[in-house]
């Protein structure tokens, strides 16, 4: 199940990083942290996945929000291959660097 999270998080970054670069923001570093919650009964599928984006650099908040939205709504293949009943939560932090 950890691999599903790495696949999802990798997919998020694969799109968000180039989108931010195209926006010509000063992106120094980026990472995502994901936590999954499973349902109690078998098959123990994901019930909820919480993603925290952490971007380092001089990045305007609205640009980051837009990049995340585009990634999630339009591009991320892994996200759209997952069960729609999984509750997805996204948060972000911008760290000046």
């Amino acid at each position: 199940m950890e691999f599903v999270l790495i696949a999802l998080g990798g997919c998020f970054l694969v799109y968000t990083v180039p989108i931010l670069q195209k926006m010509r923001v000063n992106l120094v570093d980026a990472e995502v942290e994901l936590k999954g919650e499973l349902v109690a009964e078998d098959p123990k599928r994901f019930k909820r996945i919480i993603t925290v984006y952490r971007v380092f650099g001089d990045i305007p908040e609205e640009k980051l929000k837009r990049a995340i939205e585009l990634t999630e709504e339009k591009y991320c293949r892994v996200l759209h291959s997952l069960n729609k009943d999984i509750e997805m939560e996204t948060a972000y932090e911008i760290i000046k660097a």
Binding site: E2, V4, V32, G36, R45, F46, R77
Partner: protein
């Protein structure tokens, strides 16, 4: 509860996936590196179901020598290019492995146990088959 952290490494589209135990996993965003995120999703599914099947077959006290799962996905042509169809091929090597046992183990994994498979979109078509190869 499962957790993971993915870091962007370097100028290109290289990523490192970290989990609590085990070595970090290199992901491919561009042309070089490990599996792409979509390939990794296939590995997650094949690994999850494969682990179920082998542990069920072992509980049945069957003489499995080797075991492997091959997985292939077909994507939609429009963005987001999600999976439309996933095909699994389970290959069991061993002596006197009854077909109905393998079939039952696969059914149990797919219907009851495999959390990664149950986390997929419901309209992805899942196809599976198996081969039993007689081996001493």
């Amino acid at each position: 509860m499962p957790k993971a952290k993915i870091k962007w490494v370097g100028e290109g589209l290289g990523f490192l996936g970290e989990v609590e135990t085990g070595a970090p996993l290199a992901l491919r965003g561009g042309k070089e590196g490990g599996p792409s995120p979509m390939e990794l999703l296939l590995i997650a599914i094949a690994g999850c179901s494969g682990m179920d099947v082998i542990s069920i077959l072992e509980k049945m006290k069957l003489k499995v020598r080797r075991f492997e799962v091959e997985i292939e996905g077909e994507r939609a042509s429009d963005h987001p290019k999600r999976y439309k169809k996933i095909e699994l091929l389970y290959r069991v090597y061993g002596k006197g492995i009854p077909e109905e046992r393998v079939n039952h183990a696969i059914e149990l994994s797919q219907e009851k146990y495999c959390g990664a498979l149950a986390s997929l979109r419901e309209d992805i078509e899942i196809k599976s088959r198996f081969e039993i190869i007689e081996e001493d």
